[in-house]
């Protein structure tokens, strides 16, 4: 505990001293948040499944780096069966060695009105876009059907990945006045992937989705998206805001395309994710890696069967319980 306190105080002092000329801008209130950095099937037999889960934990008092002080017993895994954590470690995972071209897409459908009453989304995204630096490139857009967008299901701010953070931020800011219609996140993501595929730059392709509900209106299925993303090597990251929907498809899309997913139950958690998002996408990160053995409470495991697992973190230092991390594991054929 004393070491934690020393680390905490040193962090704050370092943050104050390191860059006194840094732009002094504040975000709306943030909250601690955990996200799934990756998951991987290892092996199985008819009664046991072994998989790896990689988790990133972000604390509000850590600005610019991840939580790295959790212990084995601070994590609780829930699902239909019993769990055993076979191994647990926290280590730095190197960032990508190639710059990326990214499309950031928001679900602009009507239900967003109740999710973020203060439009803090636009502030958080503004911060995220300002953090991105060349040679990484970005483009923002929105998707909805029968709403107020000028093009449906996907409207992009521009045709180019031009890193115009001011124009893209202003676009995102004005989007709050065009909230409406039905969700079309899968169709929008499909078109965004097409745009990424067309992009001639020799960069990694990344798609970041900000969603707030299930999509029951799209023609494109999540399986189609996963197949396309895997074929063209498009990492898809999902930030889901709210708690009234199933995370299955979102978690699966992110996991199977090499992206991460965050299930933010409040806008404060979403803001924290955006605050650190550029770093998570483009730099090295401290990641908890768990090897988990699961014995289902009923039924036999076979290729093709899927299971959903949630991981909860009880932080002994802050006494806080984080948002759940969702993993969808499918046993390959």
């Amino acid at each position: 505990m004393r070491i934690n306190a020393i680390v905490f105080i040193s962090t704050i002092l370092t943050a104050c001293v390191i860059d006194p000329l840094a732009e002094n801008k504040s975000l709306p209130p943030q909250d601690n948040v955990a996200l799934l950095y990756g998951a991987r099937y290892i092996n199985h037999n008819s009664s046991e499944l072994t998989f790896d889960a990689q988790i990133v934990v972000l604390n509000t008092f850590y600005e610019g780096f991840n939580n790295d002080y959790l212990k084995y017993g601070d994590l609780e895994i829930n699902g239909a069966g019993s769990y055993e954590i076979e191994s647990f470690n926290c280590a730095e995972i190197a960032g990508p060695d190639k710059p990326s071209s990214m499309i950031f897409l928001v679900d602009q459908s009507n239900s967003y009105l109740t999710m973020d009453p203060y439009n803090s989304r636009s502030q958080a995204i503004h911060k995220f876009l300002r953090d991105i630096t060349t040679p990484n490139k970005f483009l923002v857009g929105a998707c909805a059907r029968q709403g107020l967008l000028s093009m449906e299901p996907l409207e992009l701010y521009s045709n180019d990945f031009d890193n115009d953070w001011e124009g893209n931020s202003n676009y995102m800011f004005g989007l709050s006045q065009r909230t409406g219609g039905m969700s079309a996140i899968w169709d929008g993501a499909d078109l965004a992937m097409e745009r990424l595929i067309e992009n001639p730059d020799n960069t990694r392709k990344e798609l970041v989705l900000l969603v707030h509900g299930e999509d029951n209106n799209s023609i494109t299925s999540v399986d189609t998206l996963i197949a396309k993303a895997r074929e063209y090597d498009i990492s898809t990251h999902v930030i889901a805001l709210g708690s009234d929907f199933k995370m299955d498809d979102f978690a699966r899309l992110a996991q199977q395309t090499g992206g991460f997913s965050a299930a933010c139950s409040t806008d404060k958690q979403m803001i924290k994710v955006f605050n650190e998002l550029d770093r998570l996408l483009h730099q090295a990160s401290y990641v908890y890696t768990l090897r988990i053995k699961w014995k289902p409470s009923s039924g036999l495991l076979s290729p093709g069967s899927s299971s959903l697992h949630t991981i909860k973190i009880n932080d002994p230092f802050t006494d806080l319980v984080y948002n759940s991390v969702y993993l969808k594991i499918i046993i390959p054929f």
């Binding site: 009453p117 203060y118 439009n119 502030q123 958080a124 107020l148 800011f173």
Partner: protein, 246 residues
């Protein structure tokens, strides 16, 4: 700093020259009240200086009272030479601005935010006038010059219509720093029309326009219109002639 000293030196030299040529020196008090103001930001969206908020520029109009007020109390030294006169008015100025922006929340709802700035400042107007009409009692004049402004205290705040309890969390009261204000000295251009009452005093209407903008990113125009009342002390400091000669 160096520039300020140069201006001060020139001012003293000019005042000295006026004394040597002046037909009459009047000393008195002035009270001014600027109630019609305009703050005009030449942008559609303002990015907050200390938050990641963006604000819609929707209200650049001239306004009575609601865009702010200036209450000025100072001293006057006026030197008359034929039709011309030169004035220096060291004054204390309680200068307020109130600028309204909008923050969109949904297609139907926008949050209205008022950024308020209060300056306590020392004003140093220097201007010359030309008198063009006279009776035994009244003279008319127009005048023009500049006002050096030295803010020495600055406060800012903002009010939100809807989010009274959370406004400090979602917006920053200093978001207009270096956009609508900063603590640096600045200059105003000054023109006005004046009605003189013999050697008793004068009433004027004056227009001021800030030279330059507080920050570099956004071009912001500050204009105000107000009136001034000046009372001359009954002192004959240098009484050659009371009125000008044609």
């Amino acid at each position: 700093m160096k520039r300020g000293r140069v201006i001060l030196t020139i001012s003293i030299v000019l005042c000295s020259s006026f004394f040597s040529f002046g037909q009459r020196v009047n000393v008195g008090f002035t009270f001014q009240y600027h109630i019609l103001k305009q703050v005009k930001v030449d942008a559609e969206v303002i990015e907050g200086a200390h938050s990641y908020s963006l604000y819609e520029v929707t209200d650049n109009r001239w306004k009575f009272f609601s865009a702010g007020q200036s209450i000025i109390i100072g001293t006057v030294v006026q030197l008359d030479y034929k039709r011309f006169y030169g004035v220096i008015e060291p004054s204390f100025d309680l200068n307020t601005y109130n600028y309204t922006v909008h923050y969109p929340l949904s297609p139907e709802k926008k949050e209205r935010l008022n950024f308020q700035t209060l300056f306590l400042q020392v004003d140093l107007p220097l201007y010359v006038g030309f008198q063009f009409g006279a009776t035994n009692l009244l003279r008319y004049s127009v005048f023009a010059g500049a006002v050096m402004v030295f803010p020495y205290m600055l406060e800012n705040s903002f009010q939100s219509q809807a989010f009274e309890s959370v406004q400090q969390d979602y917006f920053n009261s200093s978001d207009m720093d270096n956009i609508l204000f900063n603590g640096k000295k600045y200059g105003n251009a000054l023109v006005g029309f004046c009605l003189h009452f013999a050697s008793l005093g004068k009433v004027d209407i004056r227009y001021q326009h800030r030279l330059g903008s507080p920050g570099e990113r956004y071009k912001v125009a500050f204009q105000s219109l107000g009136f001034g009342l000046t009372y001359y002390l009954p002192l004959n400091l240098r009484n050659k002639k009371i009125y000008y000669e044609d």
